[in-house]
């Protein structure tokens, strides 16, 4: 188990290094100077800016400087928010995205499992059909539509009651995170519902279910201990990567609900060619995703010894 863990961790480090390198050169290959703005700059001012941000040196020197600092845990300065370090941006912003993401994943996970089980139990009857229609909507409608419609709904809700039932935007209290988290989790919830449904239906015909039932195990126990528990496994598998996906993919929801998360920086930095923030957030999220995948793998290996041998 230890060898397996170490091997996976080493692979993870190499992956992160690879992500950092590819991002670095891809970013530099983008046409345009990151410090360029709509107003043209005189040679003097451009030279001063290049010097301040280290762009006056050859690319490979910049690369090694960056890598060296990164290993020390220093992601450098933001190009747009000139005096702020990327470290402080990640430190302040990531907890927000993480909290929102965790709640979204809880919504998605619980909702997905329960809806999925429900559709399987009432297969081909109206609850199944209704939920499957909703699932298709959830998968196909993009999150910015949900976010806008959801926010509009809040405006009407608050006006109807003449008071703030749920805030339209903002961050800081429990009431602020409910709607955005639900909307953020909707897509994943729909996906998990479908996954749960098919895995439930597959298992109900499995041999061990039949055996359990034939030897006289009470039906509720067969359902709870054999069917549900086994059907949930594939859901847990995809939960790992989707945690990373949801925590990083909050851009749209964060934008519309005014949530001070990292997702905004992740996306806007690319548009603004903010080298510091592009590198910082990509490497950070990359490492986060790799870590999540490793964690799931290790859990699997721990649960199922056959994985370790492969």
């Amino acid at each position: 188990m230890l060898t397996y863990t170490l091997k996976r961790l080493l692979q993870g480090v190499v992956t992160v290094w690879f992500i950092a390198t590819v991002t670095f050169f891809a970013m530099h290959a983008l046409p345009g100077n990151p410090l360029e703005s709509e107003k043209g700059m005189s040679e003097t001012i451009r030279a001063n800016l290049d010097k301040k941000f280290g762009l006056d040196k050859p690319e490979y020197v910049q690369y090694f400087t960056y890598m060296f600092n990164m290993v020390k845990g220093d992601f450098g300065l933001s190009f747009k928010h000139e005096n702020r370090s990327v470290n402080s941006i990640i430190r302040e912003r990531f907890p927000v995205s993480a909290i929102l993401g965790i709640l979204a994943i809880v919504f998605a996970g619980l909702g997905g499992v329960l809806w999925g089980a429900l559709t399987a139990i009432y297969r081909n009857r109206w609850p199944d059909i209704l939920i499957i229609i909703l699932v298709i909507v959830g998968i196909s409608v993009p999150s910015f539509v949900f976010a806008s419609v959801g926010q509009l709904g809040l405006v009407f809700l608050n006006r109807f009651f003449g008071t703030t039932v749920l805030p339209v935007a903002g961050w800081g209290e429990i009431s602020h995170m409910l709607t955005p988290a639900l909307i953020l989790g909707l897509g994943t919830m729909a996906f998990l519902t479908r996954l749960m449904r098919s895995s439930m239906l597959e298992i109900v015909n499995a041999d061990f279910i039949r055996t359990a039932r034939s030897k006289g195990v009470p039906p509720t126990q067969v359902f709870a201990k054999h069917q549900l528990r086994n059907a949930v496994l594939p859901v847990v598998t995809v939960l790992g990567p989707s945690i990373a996906g949801i925590t990083t993919g909050g851009f749209v929801v964060e934008n519309i609900f005014g949530i001070p998360g990292l997702g905004q920086y992740f996306v806007l930095a690319v548009q603004q060619s903010d080298y510091g923030v592009i590198m910082g957030t990509t490497v950070f999220y990359g490492a986060f995703l790799v870590f999540m995948v490793i964690l799931v793998d290790l859990l699997y290996a721990w649960i199922d010894p056959r994985v370790r041998l492969e």
Binding site: N33, S42, I45, P127, V168, G170, G172, M177
Partner: protein, 575 residues
């Protein structure tokens, strides 16, 4: 939310498909219950973490009579609150509320005393007399030394300020900025604590108006030294000499300003606090906040106009000061270097149609001159004193010019031109309009080259276009901010338009202190730019906004802090 729904009663067992385990529905209902309880627990834990480890908004009513304050939204996290390096409008707006330069603008866009109570500007020098009752928010006096420090710092090579050029009228400024002279050589001296003397590099008739600009704001050296690299990164890392102090800045969430008790003119400040409770990038979401009564001001983007009209809000217009045009590539290897071709394009161009049928936003005006309507002239407005000749679209004449151009360029059919454009709904709509328009009237094919912001800039810079949709927003309150745009040496002249005649007149406008002579020069520039078809004018942009009727005294301006709430007030509930 989904988990609280009670499942429907279990169906009768005989009707159920054989592969369903009986009783599972009931069991699932229990799980729903457990799930709900678990969910509530998780929400409570996350809520605790949220309050402990993250920053939040400061919530308050849009108009709060009790605390005499208003609530607003920012369109983005202020990128830079260091007055020496700030370039964007959000930072400029905030700084305009918490800082004050030598002079400032009043509600009618007239220059009024700020930290300086008196001033003289001559051809070689300027002298400002500072008031002795101006203080920083830590109680120390604002002195001439604070200005000397801030200006030297803004021009220092290490500061790398993008707006350093705005200080170039000061003697030796450009050399200091290039690192050729030490910052001490900058032509600015504190004659005494309350007298500031400036040597000018060249006569600058509008120098006084520059001192109202962000880059010219003072910085308290002693305080700056205590913060070093962290200066201006948080509310605690700044001190203020303006009408308000920033008491709270939660990055990406909210900013709160409270009345500065040390401000010299505090009696004129009527609000006790300005709360920017939200930072929201999405313009539609900002409008929804206004609709829900959470904020007092919201801008209206083109795509939200219909919705705003439906609500029957009182929509106000504001000339935002920028001029938009189709910039033309004049580099000799380009087809567009041919005057007849440019003239043909210009002659079919119809700014009135563009504004009324394509842009369709009230507040926009058809572009007639490179100098927008708000630019001041000798006594009144420049454009009233020196009207531009009327532009009448003439497709017939245009086709004659096109035929001549084809002859000169040895072309057998109308050429294909590349139109570089931004990649956003507004640019797409306009570039497609131009494509159809020029094809219809001239048979010229337009290849639209859509690029995101930085890539478009890179292509503009390298001259990789025939035509590009561009615009210009002013830097300071003088015609020269537009007038020198197409001087051969200007780095914003991306089409490399070169005209000795224009250059000569720009120099006159730069060096003369006689208003009439300068305006004459600007008049020659505006006509020559039209006659030469240096660019094709499209429109002057406007902006629309809604504001809560309980708030008065908010100024909109083209230059400087906009919107300006510094002297705003609440209108009594009764009246």
């Amino acid at each position: 939310m989904t988990d609280t729904i009670v499942p429907p009663p279990a169906p009768p067992s005989e009707g159920v498909a054989t592969n369903v385990i009986p009783g599972s529905g009931k069991q699932l209902a229990w799980y729903f219950l457990y799930g709900t309880v678990g969910l509530v627990a998780i929400i409570l834990v996350l809520g605790y973490l949220q309050q402990e480890f993250t920053v939040g908004n400061i919530n308050q009513a849009a108009v709060d009579y009790e605390t005499n304050s208003i609530n607003l939204v920012l369109s983005e996290e202020p990128p830079q609150l260091d007055s020496g390096t700030a370039t964007d409008s959000v930072s400029g707006m905030l700084l305009g509320h918490v800082m004050e330069g030598l002079l400032r603008y009043n509600a009618n866009d007239e220059l009024i005393p700020g930290i300086a109570h008196d001033w003289e500007v001559s051809e070689q020098a300027a002298r400002f007399h500072l008031r002795e009752d101006a203080f920083w928010s830590d109680g120390t006096p604002v002195t001439a030394h604070d200005f000397v420090f801030a200006w030297r710092r803004a021009l220092a090579v290490e500061t790398a300020s993008q707006y350093a050029f705005i200080m170039y009228p000061i003697k030796n400024a450009e050399k200091v900025n290039r690192g050729e002279l030490p910052t001490e050589e900058l032509g600015v001296t504190a004659v005494s604590d309350y007298e500031l003397e400036i040597q000018l590099e060249r006569p600058t008739p509008f120098f006084a108006s520059l001192t109202a600009f962000t880059t010219f704001f003072p910085i308290n050296e002693a305080f700056y030294k205590t913060r070093g690299d962290n200066y201006a990164t948080n509310a605690e890392d700044l001190i203020f000499n303006g009408p308000f102090s920033m008491v709270h800045w939660a990055h990406d969430a909210s900013v709160r300003l409270e009345k500065n008790p040390y401000y010299w003119n505090k009696d004129a400040v009527r609000l006790d606090a300005i709360n920017f409770g939200y930072i929201l990038r999405d313009s539609e979401a900002r409008l929804r906040l206004f609709e829900s009564g959470a904020i007092v001001f919201a801008g209206i983007a083109a795509e939200n106009l219909d919705k705003a009209l439906e609500k029957r809000w009182l929509i106000k217009e504001h000339n935002s000061g920028a001029v938009y045009f189709t910039e033309i590539n004049h580099r000799p290897e380009r087809l567009t270097a041919n005057w007849n071709l440019r003239r043909a394009l210009q002659l079919v161009n119809d700014p009135v149609e563009l504004v009324n049928k394509v842009v369709k936003i009230p507040g926009f005006q058809p572009g007639e001159s490179i100098f927008p309507t708000w630019i001041k002239g000798v006594d009144g407005y420049f454009r009233d004193e020196y009207p531009m000749k009327e532009h009448v679209p003439n497709p017939v004449l245009a086709r004659e010019h096109l035929a001549k151009a084809m002859e000169e360029l040895n072309l057998t059919s109308p050429p294909t031109l590349t139109l570089l454009s931004g990649d956003n709904p507004t640019s797409n709509k306009q570039s497609e309009y131009f494509q159809a328009h020029w094809r219809k009237h001239l048979g010229i094919e337009i290849r639209i080259d859509r690029q995101i912001f930085k890539q478009r800039l890179a292509k503009m810079q390298s001259g990789d276009f025939d035509l590009v949709l561009a615009g210009w927003a002013p830097d300071y309150d003088d015609g020269l901010t537009f007038g020198d745009l197409f001087a051969s040496w200007n780095e914003n002249n991306r089409g490399r338009y070169v005209s000795e005649y224009v250059d000569k007149n720009v120099r006159i406008a730069q060096n003369s202190t006689d208003p009439r002579e300068r305006m004459e020069a600007f008049n020659k520039v505006q006509h020559r730019i039209y006659d030469d078809v240096a660019i094709i004018l499209n429109y002057e942009s406007g902006s629309l906004y809604v504001i809560d009727e309980r708030v008065g005294g908010v100024s909109r301006r083209v230059i400087g802090a906009d919107p300006d709430y510094a002297f705003a007030y609440l209108i009594d509930e009764e009246s």
